[in-house]
Symmetry: C2
Subunit: 336 residues, 2 copies
């Protein structure tokens, strides 16, 4: 299991290459949440998401022979970009397997970072096989999006930074997809501040981790959920991630897509910072005020804004929320 | 004329109440502009724009009797919010005169800051008379949006901060509407760094200051221009502002609405920061690369992001620019 010293080693390895992202604060959001929020701005990380941390921590530990053959990942999201950027930094070939119907803007962005994108005949269902075939042919190293100790230690550096940047933090809120981010963050935060709680946040329909923690065994969704938070649509958390989550994570809170869009809108209009829907998921748990029973006693909350690669075309989804009908929503904001 | 010591006095007066806004930097934008850009983030100021500085510097200098009677402003934009916030801080009544057809969201925001909004029978053409009538009736003090030494000194604190935050700044870029911001910034920057140049930026059709500087006399537009940069739609710069601009401003650069929308899109997608169109005007002068003849030798540029109160409903305007047709636009961006 990943330890604090693994995460510290990752931080040393990554320091020359990544940003120590800032903590953003906003009085309006504090009032909406009923407590001070320390917003850990991984939307300002290179590549626009935390994913570069784990990808680069992995690539930096490959042998020269593995680096010479190149790396591969299957992702149509931020992991693809994280691997592509890490590979370009180190002069390593990166192959990214994406479904044929992937968003052309994301394909272009990944190619823009210098990766080779393979789409021929690839679907959401067969992409793991397509990836395995390319590995067999070319000897590429797979960079898994979450179920890998090097990935977990890399993402854990987010927790290390929170522990030093936020005074008296007593709870950290993190979105859960495959669990790479929260497992790393929990390993770091619980080692440094054993009294601090770590909460995962999922959206309705994508609540496998909530059900896993409630039942005590890792649950798997039967189909890809339709949540707007496209970064957390994985069917289950990874094995290595689950081992950490079940021991260290204090709870998983579930919010609606509406809550996420409302949080995203507040982050845009009040904090003036751009997050993608997944990047607003953890904030939604606090801003929706739905979970007073679980987190009512939290004073200083750190909230991971996990990514900022918002598709501007999707923004109109959030528009009706700029002025929600009276009584329709528990968010109330007074100006800063 | 406003002096450096007036601006320093304003800074001391304002310090307990305003944010010293950060300088944002982004490799992608530096590459797009061909030089490092120090983005002075007044979109992160309280109220979402620089306007609070001048309004508060004015209110803090009113007599107790004037404060007791209250203040008035005519504005449907950021000046209204700046006055409203300043008044609320000091427990002063604020009356804001807005046209009947003003954006209901802006009316609600201004009311949200505690101001009394007067709209009955008010149009864009008669709002100065409506304001004068209310002043005659109630003895309110008018807070002018730009043509006032206290306003100029307050806005000038932006220049003071740039001079201390940005090493070796050799040019500062500022949007020009009525000229309150640029006159204050120029007074501060030229006193502290006489070798640094100060450029105003306007949009096509709203280029009265460019024509004023070219002709040597203050020019006035014959009609309100239709630019998307709604914060710089004034017909001319103010008298006091012009006296400073003609002496201290090195040039006024003109950009198109297309340039502004493209700059706004880059600020959203690359810097992950939310600006309104007017807040992107100064950046557009550098990102469009249209003015190499005037600014080709600028090394370290400071760019004022003047405001962040983006109407999300207007955002789709900027969308086609996320992927401009090849050759259609001089902006080229490589990933950070």
């Amino acid at each position: 299991m990943v330890t604090l010293s693994d995460i510290r080693a990752a931080a040393t390895r990554l320091a020359p290459h990544i940003h120590e992202t800032p903590i953003l604060r906003c009085r309006s959001l504090d009032e909406a949440a009923g407590r001070p929020l320390a917003l850990k701005a991984e939307n300002l990380q290179r590549g626009g998401a935390f994913k570069l941390r784990g990808a680069l921590n992995t690539l930096l530990q490959l042998s020269a022979a593995d680096r010479a053959r190149g790396v591969i990942a299957h992702s149509s999201g931020n992991h693809a970009q994280g691997v592509a950027i890490a590979a370009r930094m180190l002069g390593v070939r990166a192959v990214i397997v994406m479904p044929q119907n992937a968003n052309p803007l994301k394909v272009a962005a990944t190619r823009g970072y210098g990766a080779d994108v393979v789409q021929d005949g690839v679907t959401g269902d067969n992409r793991e096989q397509a990836t395995a075939r390319l590995i067999a042919q070319h000897g590429y190293t797979l960079v898994h999006p979450y179920d890998d100790d090097r990935i977990i230690a890399g993402q854990g550096t987010v927790g290390l930074e929170i522990a030093t940047q936020v005074n008296d933090v007593d709870a950290v809120f993190v979105p859960i997809g495959g669990g790479g981010l929260i497992s790393g963050v929990a390993a770091a935060v619980k080692s440094l501040h054993p009294g601090a709680r770590v909460f995962g946040v999922e959206t309705e329909g994508a609540d496998d981790a909530a059900r896993s923690l409630a039942s005590g065994s890792r649950q798997r969704l039967s189909a890809v959920p339709t949540t707007i938070a496209d970064g957390i649509r994985s069917l289950s958390v990874g094995e290595r991630n689950w081992e950490i989550i079940r021991r260290l994570v204090d709870g998983v809170l579930v919010v609606s897509d509406f809550d996420v869009a409302a949080a995203l809108t507040l982050l845009l209009t009040r904090v003036k910072t751009v997050v993608e829907p997944t990047g607003a998921v953890a904030a939604a748990a606090l801003l929706s005020r739905k979970h007073a029973d679980r987190i009512g006693d939290v004073r200083n909350a750190a909230v991971v804004l996990s990514g900022g690669n918002l598709d501007l075309g999707s923004l109109p989804l959030a528009l009706p929320l700029a002025d929600p009908p009276a009584g329709a929503h528990p968010i109330s904001v007074t100006p800063s």
